[in-house]
């Protein structure tokens, strides 16, 4: 089973980003997803910067994938998406499609792609349809449990690779509204990149103190952090080919190392569960639950 690093969920300073990927190049991660998938205004790195970074990481022996924006509203965002797809095709880089527009563009370009977790694949026929459009790997929607994923894999005749999102705060919803700007009581159109001040998002807590959600720009993420790392043996035995960690902080690279170590030495515990963790969806429960 390969270890992958998903795209950056939060908005970091350019130097932080570059330093992080320099360290990631030395890590045991096999596949690294790059690019801005949350907000089109987060442009500390240009598309060319991301492509350059992808090539550097290729040199370091990593497979790289360019991730697209998940919620595409303005025509300018759609043009920028098309440009990214064309750029990737020219540079022979794989793209993770997080919106059906990306699927459309990539299939027009006859480029293989990864179907990201924001595409709605709930059955084998849908997966096969995308496979015929060029999908070579899929990341199941986050709300699917192990049985549902196994059913889809079994029903699929095309059998693209399966990559499971296994660690990090889960994106639960996308909106036109920027909740970070709202929390600061400023308009989205004059956001002054306020999310740079929140490199791990903002917590929304219930009135009795339970951390419910993490606000990350236009995304509403889970309050708890998904942790399926300790279930890596079960995940692998189900035939899942890749396991994804979200780069929530530079410290995620320690988890990558410890997962690699656990896999090599057949150890069960990668990182101990805390009250901040959840694994409900995988275990057929509400997403916020933790089953130890």
């Amino acid at each position: 089973m390969k270890i992958t690093l998903g795209p950056l969920p939060y908005f970091w300073e350019k130097n932080t980003v570059l330093n992080f990927y320099q360290a990631a190049a030395e890590s045991p991660a096999d596949v690294i997803y790059l690019g801005e998938s949350v907000c089109s205004k987060r442009r500390q790195l240009s598309q060319e910067d991301w492509v350059a970074l992808a090539k550097e990481l290729n040199q370091a022996g990593k497979q790289t994938v360019l991730s697209t924006l998940a919620l595409i509203e303005a025509e300018s965002e759609l043009h920028s998406l098309r440009r990214l797809c064309e750029l990737a095709a020219d540079e022979n880089l794989l793209v993770e499609a997080n919106d059906m527009a990306a699927v459309q563009f990539l299939s027009e370009l006859k480029q293989p792609f990864v179907a990201g977790p924001a595409l709605n694949i709930y059955n084998g026929s849908s997966l096969d349809l995308l496979a015929r459009a060029g999908c070579i790997r899929w990341v199941p929607p986050l709300e699917l449990g192990k049985d549902a994923i196994a059913d889809i894999c079994e029903a699929s005749t095309q059998k693209p690779e399966t990559e499971l999102f296994a660690y990090g705060h889960m994106t639960l919803a996308y909106s036109a509204r920027c909740y970070t700007a709202r929390a600061h009581n400023i308009p989205k159109d004059q956001c002054r990149f306020i999310c740079l001040q929140h490199p791990t998002g903002m917590k929304a807590t219930s009135q009795d103190g339970q951390e419910l959600f993490t606000l990350n720009g236009i995304q509403t993420q889970s309050g708890k952090c998904l942790n399926l790392l300790n279930q890596w043996q079960e995940i692998r035995s189900q035939g899942i080919e890749l396991i994804r960690l979200a780069p929530e902080s530079p410290a995620v690279l320690n988890l990558v190392s410890s997962l690699k170590d656990s896999m090599e030495n057949d150890l069960t515990t990668v990182t101990p569960y805390t009250e901040q963790h959840c694994n409900g969806y995988w275990n057929r429960l509400a997403g916020m639950e933790l089953q130890v």
Partner: protein, 331 residues
């Protein structure tokens, strides 16, 4: 513009017909549609009765099969498509690729509308559905500004329908797991959001508390009006402030921008609310019928009548309405 209206029961269907709907959408009694609530929706017999009513008055009937088909239960979605065809529905409103593929290959004459749950917010995504399934119309998610709606409609990939009035989803529909995160049941899989069986009200002495699967969604002072604990409309604490962190209890109302929507080339407006009573449906549809008739008579002189606005406001969540994402400052 076509007026597309909701009906969760035969009496609501009658009310919509009488109030002047051009088309009415319904769902069957299972999780194949996004309003899978107890006591709601149509079995085969009721659906056929609805269709008779509709045909008498020249009203179209659409069937919403707009949840995502899970592998083990896929036969149920297939059966729902066949049933919609057998009763003679004018169009199917669908979200799942496999459902559309089945409908398109097995029933090529059936008109397909891409449901709002299909989450297509731009003409690139719409092109995919047109190419794959020859969809005839798409319902746009409530995340686009008026300018963005114009851009999508102007691309002329497929006819566009937008939401006009009703409960406001503030997340891109079809990609929201807030409900399954807290309760295990989501719009995509079960056709529900913040389902009623998880709701609990607690009187604590100081306040009335609403809970969903034991999670506190809001607390109300005695003078405050309590609302249904929809997850995205709770009051939460962020950075030391307690407020409606995502959205306030409010309904969408686009009556004031009808001329712009028409000029943009929008082909239909949809009223939300299959879970609403026949009286609600009748009142809302009647206001929108008047508004659309007036718009047709003289688009340049159209003004949203105060009385219409008052009626709609009185029927709204929290008695307030918003233009939602259509208005840039809302975002």
């Amino acid at each position: 513009m076509e007026l597309v209206c909701p009906a969760g029961s035969l009496p609501a269907f009658k009310a919509a017909v009488e109030a002047g709907a051009d088309a009415i959408y319904i769902g069957f009694k299972d999780n194949t549609n996004a309003r899978h609530f107890a006591g709601l929706n149509f079995d085969d017999r009721k659906a056929r009765q609805a269709l008779d009513l509709a045909r008498d008055k020249g009203v179209k009937l659409f069937v919403a099969i707009n949840t995502y088909a899970q592998q083990r239960e896929w036969h149920r979605w297939k059966a729902a498509v066949d049933q919609a065809v057998s009763i003679g529905a004018n169009a199917l409103i669908a979200a799942d690729m496999s459902v559309m593929e089945y409908a398109h290959t097995q029933h090529p004459d059936l008109h397909l509308h891409l449901s709002v749950q299909g989450s297509a917010t731009n003409f690139g995504a719409l092109q995919f559905y047109v190419n794959q399934f020859n969809i005839k119309r798409a319902v746009l998610p409530r995340v686009l500004s008026l300018k963005q709606v114009k851009q999508v409609a102007a691309a002329n990939v497929v006819d566009v329908e937008v939401f006009g009035f009703g409960s406001l989803c503030i997340m891109a529909e079809g990609r929201c797991y807030l409900s399954s995160y807290i309760t295990g049941e989501s719009p995509n899989t079960q056709g529900v959001c913040s389902p009623a069986r998880f709701v609990e009200w607690r009187e604590t002495g100081q306040h009335l508390e609403s809970r969903l699967n034991n999670v506190v969604i809001d607390r109300y002072q005695p003078e405050e009006k309590a609302g249904y604990p929809t997850l995205c409309k709770g009051r939460f604490d962020v950075d030391g402030h307690r407020y409606h962190a995502l959205e306030e209890p409010t309904s969408l109302n686009t009556l004031t921008i009808l001329p712009e929507l028409q000029a943009a080339g929008v082909k239909a407006v949809k009223i939300e609310g299959r879970q609403r009573s026949p009286a609600y449906v009748g009142q809302v549809v009647s206001v929108w019928r008047k508004a659309l008739d007036k718009l047709k008579q003289s688009p340049e002189n159209f003004r949203a009548d105060n009385q219409w606005m008052e009626v709609l406001q009185s029927l709204s969540e929290g008695s307030q309405t918003t233009l939602g994402a259509y208005s840039r400052p809302w975002q």
